[in-house]
């Protein structure tokens, strides 16, 4: 808690009194000298509340020494030692920091255990208000997160400039295992099934595995209120672009007697082709069906939980983006509009993707004085990805990958004197099999990890140190010229992290984290060998790749005072043997024509960047916010830029909060975001120049309808119907991004 540094003036007046003494006074804001009403005062057995003018009085006291405590919303409690001998009037100046903003960075885990990570949380309520059926919907307004997109339906989060294998998506503690190596493979997550989502930027995430250098997105299970209740919540969203909508249902109940909580969620979404500013993006329809069940039973000191979820998605791939060779690509690039232009439709034709993801999880937690909190989790996941192309049509998948994963996590969380200790172990079994076209081989992989983290917390600072060891063994199976080849790979290494925060002033906190971590080359980086249709390029993996190692520094400065909040999060990641897909500058001739060749290579690279958020309350109902994300990436071995890094971005937002228009706790926001042109690219490396800078304008109005439990929001995205292309969207070679869209979201709880 904040330390008291109240300026207190004690003015006493002498006036004779004998047995009964009266203490009276006034409470003023130290900054404005204006009276503060409703300050709550305690003096021995007496409890009084200051009136509207800040006045209070406590009569009928006897002479003696007392402690007067004053509490007020937005202030730190203040305790005064008084020695009363006669009637006394005091003026109390309270440093009334009514912070306009809640702390966005929490420096502790929600269990209030000491923790050094930088965490941002998105609540379940917020997720429902966003009608978030994908991670990109859920994280869209989070500063420092951008997306690697393939059209409007496939988006992979980018943190600290990194994505795919350098970001982990976790279901509580178990890593989500899909085909995350692919740039057009989005995480198979339904955020509406989550209790909340945590975003942990940077490298202080040893607990969750060594390879998430960029950060971690953690999906947390819901928590139940400790009263008997049963509720049904309905969610509906309709939008004009892409035309379609979403219907969601949530059932939740808790029985305090049996201490059993249950929650079931079911969502269905469908939309047709999206529209760019001036044409239809043919075959970009989308269908998703997702559901989950979560049960939590508390018994004695134990919590048992069971989670199961299903996720089925079918989505179209922009017809014009599926091309045969470099001639086709050049034809697409030289045309202003997509080469295939069909009328709007809800139908999804080839090329398309069908993704199924099923998860089952059992968790057991036990709290005891001797061992602390012991937790064990078993997770099983199945990910089935099918990609259909124009040749094989809708029936036979051209690419068919089936991934089974089983994970076991054990951890102990204990306090020894004033140090919090966390240790744990994890084991993983994973099997991938493919049918149809070869892209990555069949493989069987075993992983194991061990970690220990010690945390020391004091009033003004916190220090944490952690160590982790990971090992993995992969056996791959594939045919090369009719001969079955079996390859074995083993990678292991240590990760370490020291981090902490310190309060240097009651309004200022700094966070610092230093870490070294490693990532083993992934299956596609080792084995890719062939044509990538979407980009008309030949991609070659390298079996000789070594693991990459990152040395990371993350910092944060957080200032929160009265009407201003300021937050800067700089970072520096230096990589040895950084693995990436590099254009070779050569073309290779085949019967399909000529193709540019891309190779997975290793180099030394640095990521330097910062995320900045400034919030300022202009007036009682008006708030402004300015967000910025800056990033510079360089290949140090070759002294060049690296392909595929997000451009610089800023967003400005104006928010008006009010009660009116039959709405309560209503808000109206207007935001404008500017994305610069990515100039940090090598000439002639990409097929085309990076897209021009663009500005988008969005607005939204929302609130609770009267006194009902109906939450309504309505908004317009890309108000000006700007035609633009984004550097991080793979469709930028073929078509513009999505144009104007109007949406309405209704959320009702029975």
């Amino acid at each position: 808690m904040r330390k008291i540094f109240a300026v207190l003036m004690l003015c006493s007046f002498s006036e004779f009194a004998l047995s009964q003494i009266k203490l009276s006074g006034v409470v003023l804001d130290s900054a404005t000298q204006k009276p503060l009403n409703n300050a709550f005062m305690t003096l021995g057995a007496y409890k009084v509340i200051a009136d509207a003018n800040g006045n209070f009085s406590i009569p009928q006291l006897t002479a003696g020494s007392y402690t007067l405590t004053i509490t007020h919303i937005g202030c730190d409690p203040l305790a005064l030692r008084l020695f009363l001998v006669k009637d006394t009037f005091i003026t109390i100046f309270l440093p009334h920091h009514l912070h306009a903003f809640e702390e966005i960075i929490t420096y502790a885990h929600n269990s209030r255990e000491p923790d050094a990570r930088l965490i941002q949380t998105i609540s379940s309520k917020k997720l429902e208000q966003l009608a978030a059926v994908s991670l990109s919907d859920a994280l869209i307004n989070t500063n420092g997160i951008s997306f690697l997109r393939t059209g409007s339906t496939i988006a992979k989060p980018i943190i600290n400039g990194m994505h795919s294998n350098r970001i982990s998506v976790l279901n509580d503690e178990s890593k989500q295992e899909g085909q995350q190596w692919g740039s057009e493979h989005a995480p198979e997550i339904d955020p509406l099934s989550a209790g909340s989502i945590e975003i942990i930027k940077g490298a202080s995430t040893l607990r969750y595995g060594g390879d998430a250098m960029g950060g971690v997105i953690r999906i947390l299970p819901p928590s139940f209120r400790d009263t008997s209740y049963a509720e049904i919540a309905l969610l509906a969203k309709g939008e004009t672009n892409p035309k379609g909508g979403l219907i969601g249902l949530k059932l939740e109940r808790y029985k305090p007697k049996s201490r059993l909580g249950q929650r079931a969620v079911f969502n269905v979404k469908r939309n047709g082709d999206a529209q760019a500013a001036s044409y239809t993006l043919s075959n970009t329809g989308f269908e998703q069906l997702s559901g989950s069940y979560y049960g939590l039973l508390k018994k004695g000191n134990s919590d048992f939980s069971f989670t199961s979820s299903a996720f089925v998605q079918r989505l179209g791939i922009l017809a014009a983006s599926h091309i045969g060779n470099l001639t086709d690509l050049n034809r697409a690039l030289s045309s202003d509009t997509p080469l295939i232009n069909l009328p709007f439709s809800y139908n999804i034709l080839a090329p398309s993707q069908r993704i199924q993801h099923y998860t089952g999880k059992i968790k057991w937690e036990n709290k005891s004085d001797k061992l602390g909190l012991v937790s064990s989790t078993y997770t099983i996941q199945n990910n089935h990805r099918q990609e259909f192309d124009n040749h094989n049509g809708d029936l036979n998948a051209a690419l068919d990958l089936n991934l089974w994963t089983q994970q076991l996590h054990l951890s102990i969380d204990n306090h020894l004197e004033d140090i919090r200790w966390q240790y744990g172990a994890m084991g993983e079994w994973q099997q991938n099999t493919f049918k149809g076209r070869y892209f990555i081989p069949n493989y069987l992989r075993y992983k194991a990890g061990l970690f220990a983290i010690a945390t020391l917390e004091r009033d003004a600072y916190l220090v944490e140190a952690g160590l982790r060891y990971d090992v993995q063994h992969t056996t791959s199976y594939h045919y090369e010229k009719d001969i079955l080849k079996t390859d074995q790979f083993e990678f292991s290494g240590l990760s370490a992290n020291v981090s902490g925060w310190r309060r240097i002033h009651q309004d200022v906190r700094i966070h610092l984290s230093a870490a070294t971590r490693f990532r083993s080359p992934d299956i596609n980086e080792l084995f890719s060998n062939g044509l990538h249709h979407g980009s008309a390029s030949l991609e070659f993996g390298d079996l000789q790749l070594k693991q990459e190692r990152a040395y990371s520094l993350n910092a944060a400065l957080n200032y929160n005072h009265n009407n201003l909040r300021f937050q800067v999060e700089p970072y520096l990641h230096y990589f040895n043997n950084y693995i990436y897909l590099k254009p070779s500058g050569e073309t290779q001739l085949s019967i399909r024509g000529a193709f540019p060749v891309f190779n997975y290579v290793q180099t030394d690279a640095s990521y330097v960047g910062t995320d900045i958020t400034i919030k300022y309350q202009l007036a009682t109902h008006w708030t402004t916010e300015l967000d910025g994300a800056l990033l510079l990436v360089k290949d140090h071995r070759n002294q060049t830029f690296i392909y595929g890094i997000p451009a610089q971005r800023t967003t400005g937002k104006l928010k008006y909060t009010f009660d009116g228009l039959s709405l309560k706790n209503a808000y109206w926001t207007v935001s404008s975001s500017y994305t610069a042109k990515q100039n940090r690219m090598e000439t002639n490396e990409d097929f085309t120049d990076s897209p021009a800078a663009y500005t988008l304008l969005n607005t939204e109005l929302g609130g609770q309808y009267q006194d009902t439990r109906l939450h309504v929001s309505i908004g317009v995205n890309n108000i000006l119907n700007t035609s633009y292309r984004d550097y991080m969207n793979r469709y930028r070679y073929y078509a513009d991004d999505v144009g104007i869209s109007i949406f309405l979201i209704l959320n009702y709880t029975f």
Binding site: S302, H322, I323, G324, N325, T327, D328, R331, L339, I340, L349, A350, I362, W364, N366, S376, Y378, I380, N390, H391, G393, W404, Q406, L408, W429, Q431, N432, T433, F434, K435, G436, R437, Y438, P441, N442, Y443, L444, T475, Y477, H478, Y479, K481, D482, L484, T486, N529, G530, L531, L538, F540, Q588, L589, S590, I591, R592, G593, A594, F595
Partner: protein, 185 residues
Amino acid sequence: MKQFKSLSLTLIALLTLTFTFNACKDQVDTPPNPNEEELITTLELTFTNENNASDVRIFKFADADGDGGNAPTITDSIVLAANTSYSLAVRFLDESKSPVEDITTEIVAEAIDHLICYTTPGDLMITILDKDANNLNLGLAATVKTQAVENTSLTIRLMHQPNQKNGNCDIGETDVEVTFITTIE
């Protein structure tokens, strides 16, 4: 004691599951052999002199392992006589199989989705003879008329145009694209 009981029960359940999934292991070590997949490795052009049936010229482009992998092995140059009319027959083959598979029959079966296009910067005059069910050009058979002596090139493209075919070459996806150096002597 109770904790141990539930813990051991969980462990047994886990072991059973692990055992069950290890049963799938058989699948892992028997991946599909991609060579069994359809592949176009070879483009074969047969020119027959319309005035002299015994003047048959065959030119080939062959990339035995398809896209990627090794570079093409056969890259013939076309050599034709000046001021002569030839009938051209085109075949697409998969020579990675034994016996060699003729993909041309599949193209004929899906003629409404395919188009073979000819382009040359020179003076060759190419007329497509065969049509699909919609009476649009297919291009497996053509007449090639040579003019004066020249050094030029001939590009042959197999376009895949499902639900889009309108006779135009510049739509759809290129399945085959080969440029032959061409000498008219």
